[in-house]
């Protein structure tokens, strides 16, 4: 598929996970009233935009390829990936303790793992 997006979607969620981990260790929740947290939030929005770009590229690639890709699984991953961050960040913001920050770590790590799986599925390992 499109390698730059894929590489970015390995690296940026891991950066976000480390960022959240630092906040967790410092016992901080994600509060949009704080300037630093708004920067973090925008960073996550940026990742989501890349995920959406990947979904477009992915569906176009799926429609035009003649490779033997498991269509249903691949499509489900593209849609699941697009929903993961919005739902995860919403759930995280509902908790004003570091529990919400821990949710962000889970969500961003899941994102990276799902991108990895997505590429394995594309390569033919369903």
């Amino acid at each position: 598929m499109l390698t730059p997006i894929t590489v970015a979607l390995y690296v940026l969620p891991l950066v976000a996970a480390v960022w959240a981990l630092v906040k967790l260790i410092r016992n901080q929740a994600l509060l949009l009233a704080n300037r630093g947290d708004r920067v973090f939030f925008r960073f996550l929005v940026g990742i989501e935009l890349l995920v959406l770009a990947q979904a477009v590229v992915g569906f176009v690639a799926l429609a035009t390829t003649d490779r033997d890709v498991h269509t249903v699984t691949f499509g489900a991953y593209l849609i699941g990936l697009a929903l993961l961050l919005p739902v995860g960040v919403w759930w995280s913001l509902g908790d004003r303790s570091r529990g919400g920050t821990a949710v962000l770590i889970v969500v961003t790590l899941t994102l990276a793992v799902m991108v990895l799986r997505l590429n394995q599925i594309w390569a033919g390992h369903a």
Partner: protein, 146 residues
């Protein structure tokens, strides 16, 4: 029960570690449900036992997610039961996946102690049971018959 106590119970169950547990349960609900739907829909005859167990696991995760998130007295009780079913299920399927590997040609969520999922499947029910016990306000009440 007065409303404040009910809200307290909900807040306690849903915050901190509970927040993470509910997120993980939701993730596993989606993962197990989609995985078993694809497996049953496209290649059921390959491993019917394993795929039906995947579907059962999905059901348990969905019950766990909903009941933990609702966090009422009744739903917490249902969550406790479903977590016990879950830990028994994980252990039974894990042992079966080693004893009769021919029935498990590809890994399911619960086989091999959830090794394909960072062993979270075996840790999750234990953590949830511990959390339900910790946030159980009824246990610390002084007048038991109330």
């Amino acid at each position: 029960m007065p409303d404040t106590t009910r809200t307290d119970l909900q807040t306690a169950t849903r915050s901190g570690i509970g927040r993470v547990l509910i997120a993980l349960y939701a993730l596993f609900s989606v993962a197990a449900a989609s995985r078993s739907a694809v497996q049953i829909g496209t290649r059921f005859d390959d491993a019917p036992v394993a795929y039906l167990l995947s579907a059962f696991a999905a059901l348990v995760y969905i019950v766990g997610t909903v009941c933990l998130a609702r966090a009422s007295v009744v739903s917490r009780r249902i969550a406790t039961i479903s977590c016990v079913v879950e830990i028994v299920g994980v252990l039974a399927v894990s042992i079966a996946s080693y004893a009769v590997p021919q029935e498990f040609p590809e890994p399911t969520v619960w086989s091999h102690f959830g090794s394909g999922y960072l062993f979270i499947p075996v840790i999750l029910p234990i953590a949830a049971l511990w959390w339900l016990r910790r946030t159980d306000t009824g246990r610390t009440r002084t007048s038991p018959g109330a």
